[in-house]
Symmetry: D2
Subunit: 406 residues, 4 copies
């Protein structure tokens, strides 16, 4: 354990990572650099500074990365209509690569030879942090305290904190949620507690970002989202930076009871786990993006994207954002988005996101062709006969030779 | 036009197909056999008999195919979590293969040499009818009046009806919806009219099967769906036939404002078209099936299913139900469903379908492993290090050789 | 038939397309522009000029497009290791998009309103020409004489030629191959004749570009191919233009009995057809490209390419080169090729292409890690245990719950 | 190390696994059960008995599993035309699941609580053995000596053997190949030695199963393979058991210089490795199976199989034979093979396998339709126009709206 001199730690300022600071200092006899990111989790990040200083940290990095997060990670992911296992919008998964990148960059800046994080040995986040770090800096060392130490219960952890005079915010600890939570601008997640029984419905007071549909306003809210190159650039005509878009959609979505999901998902490390998520803005973006694509993308392009989406989602879920296969798919996805421009009009009402209009200068929708009325020659119905006949040919040959369908 | 002796027509009893009866008798000088199916469209089918008789039809087939429809077509499709272009539950598409099959069978029974249908030359349904018919009976002839005749506007059609003394139900014609509609137990669809402008929101009175979320009850409804082999066999513990399941889910879904979608979709014949759909029961089934699979299916099986679903959906949408590639995929899908047994608990509320519980004797969810608390050795967190290290190896080698991620 | 004023015809100078010139002039009373391309088919193109002039053609385009053909069509296709149905290197398919593009461009230049070609109504080539033309110029009209006229046997065609004083090269007609052939720099194809029986072996004298393995030299030939960005830029260290590369590989490949295949393939129009092909250079390129990729591409990138290759091959075979889905896939494929640089050494011997060496500055092969000898810490074998344990976890959970593998 | 009582070892009788016997007895103080399988590796298996007895083994299993191996593993794999990374026929990969299964079964029979094998910690085989074992018996323990001990060089291993009086066959050790080899009825593989430099060509005397094309007979050999349900059941009309088929094809293939490949492949554990393989019979089977499928399989079925083959190959290569995703794919593949019946005629000559004929009672090849001559109405060429027009529609709409192809 002696060859580590300096470690960059992903530090939230909370109890667990504060314990890690101490434990690293003690076990590895090394210097600790803390990195605290504002990803839009909704908690102040500055208080982390005083705590770090109190533990003797000399190099403290506290950064607002919200714009980068949404612009370079969330938005590219939404261009693919990405959803994991039909339900999960990857709110946690997509934040990890950014943190991994900054940890590695800060290690380089500060001359650190290792990074550390507070993810457990059972979850996906350790994989996401570490794959990212290794991909960006192959020589980096990684310390994952939860896989090494024996502070594996809440009690032993609290004892360690007390023994080492780590300030525990008891008022907060007293209110401590029974759930393990993670938040950033895209979502807040809940695991553990009552959720470990997949037959239990979460209690209403678990949810933090959205009102329930029951408590949402009785009047719908209409919004218009403007797209350029597949990304939202304005809400109701007001141009916004990427993270402002998402923040505003979270607000209006949460107010209207939108974006709660409650699922059992398959972790990369091999077990099933129950998770509850609030993704108000993301839920709106998903539906809106499909709507703007519905009029601007070619059919076969859209279908090819759909067929590759599960793979792309799996890569992000499993921690392969920083991989050549993800960038390869991204190149393809991005190539399709130049034409994804226009406006989508949405109705938000008690948990429902309904697309009520879509328009685009680059629309491929042509009402002269689709119409039920006479289309003045734009489409010759007789062509359909040949189309069907040749598409049927192989089926007819097979049937004529006595081949039966099973 | 002289080599056709007898034609089996998919006959709804409405104006359009009544005109087709006359037109076939007149243009082809052939006998017409009518086939009218009760697919759960919510309209009486028996009145079609009197109308057919009045036009001199001697062989009239009127059949209740609701159970076969749901059991052999809808349920198999839902085993794959099938959804077209992210939004459409294929309500129209899945009914056509059954009709095609019966048309061909009746042709055989009655010694007819052709079949006919009332689908236009611009839509998908002509393709679905005809591919199915050709696949099942390669020598069959197909007459598609809309591609042949010149009765291409409502006016010419009405004139033809009057000239030929086809009884037009003017009270109904007076109330006639501006929309082209199609219904069966899985859904009701709307096209045309105001929908031809993708920026227009449909008016509330267009929708027929569901109340709006605004008008749905203020109290949620909870239901429990029991699965066997991937299919729902009981609601709230009461065993039901397949079509009864769907009918009941339509009722409870429609009452709770569930299942409306409004999309622009890509037709197989090459153009984009706006469609609005009500699929109350199907919307519930989709979410519930994913939920029961979430605890019973292996991860890789689930992901493989997800990656092939778009292809499977495309096949059904495009009319290839009766094809060896669809049966091939079906064999694979069905093989995975033996273990998809258990119960899903759902909350229905003003348009929302929320999964609030799932349980199964064959659940792969293991709370001893996923727990945040100590798991008594069921999982060794140290294994994660090797897992990550080897998964990272190719990425590290690439980075160590100076390879940059784009 | 009167609204066509000028037609650009893909004109080979042979009998069939000469008949088409006359037939167009006569049936459509329109002016004909001829386009004759040197794609490396191995026949002089200039003679087409005199023939065209003799038939009164005023606008004659004769062009050497060999470099463009190989650089912009063949090479991009080989970057994907493209092969149709496991055997066919798409030699005919890949030439059609270039011809379609030039036909449309020449139509624009000359003010023509239609294009025409000599492909029959049963084959793939009509589709490839026409899809390409429509995609590039949606208003273009297409005349496909073989689908219109009644000159459907060799005899009627010859009679028409005689009646219209079209000079038939009887010495050539006398030697006329019983096969329908097509050639360009990538391959020569044979269809028809004895090949219509899939049990018949083609006679040795059918083949034109290669000696049989039996007649190839008894000494092997070694060559080295240099790659940059996935394309071959030099043979044995001598830099060459794209078409020179292919021409030279055809020569050395054909001399060594390489590149014959004899298959039954599935046409896009729905039937199976027998084809025999000689693709000497392409066969060498295919194997060499896989070899250079084997040391330079990341594993997951290579596998993703492999999984999408059948789709990409199908697009090209079916005539969708000029489509957004092909360009979308191409963007992805090309993005992977920056690193595909290096040299492949091959042994050519009596029909065999054997890779005997590959090297690259960007090789990811690391002999320190793969070695069976001690690797001085570059790889910790103990990591494998955790890797296996976690990859097995889902399988173990399933088995522990009594789940049986079928 | 004390909780293991009895271990079943995959025992070849060679030096390495003999050392493992001793090392297990010594390190784990446990009883060892040996399992030696005749997979067609071409070496006697009985001598293993005496060696095992000499080391005090009481439970010795020596089994001829050749038929099971080819019938239940090799043949099912070939139904999918399986090939890894475009070149490798998976000869080693496909043998491991059978061994894993027998190890676990023998453990059950003998009351052993662990299994062991001689695969190193850097290769794929450890993964294949262990994933299989865990999937079939989740509670089994696995001892992988190469990941545990420090006998990591040939020298330390030889010393250990001498110290423990393990009989080393010095005559054999003296002739010892510089290559690490593995053999079974499907192939023999070579790794290590000079192959660790991907630029080096293997020396001729490395190869053991085939003559070089140079040394193969100057006369071709013709054979006919009869298929039933996708499997070969007879050679030249003589019915044979599965393993006899493969043995005979190995003989005739090897005699004709067929089946050598030399590649750099991507291992599942993350590094690239050079391998050389001789797969004479497999090379013949691959080509023949595609040929019989070419006339009996529907186009879309064939293409769907092709698109999933890379995934299927990857599963087998990575060790997931015993997994629900492999059995799921197998169900799909097998469903397609009922119709794959008939005869393929092949010419074998100096490394070349050429298909020269294929016939089947279930052939979908229809010469009346594919012919260049008049087909008497079986196909209406005019249908092609509508087919093309509608397939082009989306492309034309896009182009007419100014959309450019990139």
């Amino acid at each position: 354990m002696s060859d580590i001199n300096k470690v960059v730690l992903a530090y939230s300022g909370g109890l667990d990572t504060s314990v890690i600071v101490k434990w690293l200092q003690e076990s590895y006899q090394c210097e600790v650099v803390t990195f605290t990111a504002d990803l839009g989790q909704g908690e102040e990040v500055e208080p982390a500074r005083a705590k770090a200083e109190a533990m003797g940290i000399k190099e403290i990095f506290i950064e607002d990365v919200r714009e980068e997060f949404v612009r370079d990670f969330v938005f590219p992911m939404f261009r693919a209509n990405t959803i994991y296992e039909g339900e999960y919008l990857l709110g946690t998964s997509i934040a990890r690569p950014l943190i991994a990148k900054r940890l590695v960059e800060i290690a380089e800046e500060t001359g650190a030879d290792a990074i550390s994080h507070g993810a457990t040995g059972k979850g996906n986040d350790q994989v996401r942090f570490e794959l990212g770090a290794y991909a960006l800096q192959p020589g980096i060392k990684v310390i994952a305290p939860w896989r090494e130490w024996n502070l594996t219960s809440r009690e032993t952890l609290m004892n360690y904190a007390q023994e080492h005079q780590i300030p525990v915010d008891f008022s907060k600890a007293g209110k401590k949620s029974p759930y393990s939570m993670d938040a950033n601008l895209l979502h807040i997640s809940y695991e553990g507690g009552i959720l470990e029984d997949p037959w239990s419905e979460p209690e209403e007071d678990m949810w933090r970002w959205s009102v329930s549909p029951e408590n949402a306003p009785d009047q719908p809210t209409y919004i218009e989202l403007s797209y350029e190159g597949g990304d939202i650039v304005a809400i109701d005509g007001v141009r916004l930076a990427a993270h402002e878009v998402l923040a505003q959609l979270n607000k209006v979505g949460g107010d209207n009871g939108i974006g709660r999901v409650d699922i059992v998902e398959n972790r990369y490390v091999g077990m099933k786990a129950r998770g509850a998520y609030e993704t108000p803005g993301g839920t709106i973006m998903m539906r809106a993006h499909r709507a703007i694509e519905s009029i601007t993308l070619d059919r076969e392009v859209a279908h090819l994207k759909d067929s590759l989406m599960p793979k792309y989602a799996e890569l992000i879920y499993n921690g392969y954002w920083w991989s050549p296969e993800r960038t390869m798919l991204q190149a393809m996805i991005d190539q399709t988005q130049d034409v994804v421009n226009g406006v989508v009009r949405l109705k938000l009402y008690k948990g429902n996101v309904t697309v009520v209009g879509r328009q685009s200068d680059q629309s491929l929708f042509d009402d002269r062709i689709a119409t039920f009325e006479d289309d003045a020659g734009a489409y010759d119905q007789k062509d359909a006969e040949g189309f069907i006949k040749l598409n049927a040919l192989r089926l007819r040959i097979a049937a004529s030779k006595g081949r039966k369908l099973k």
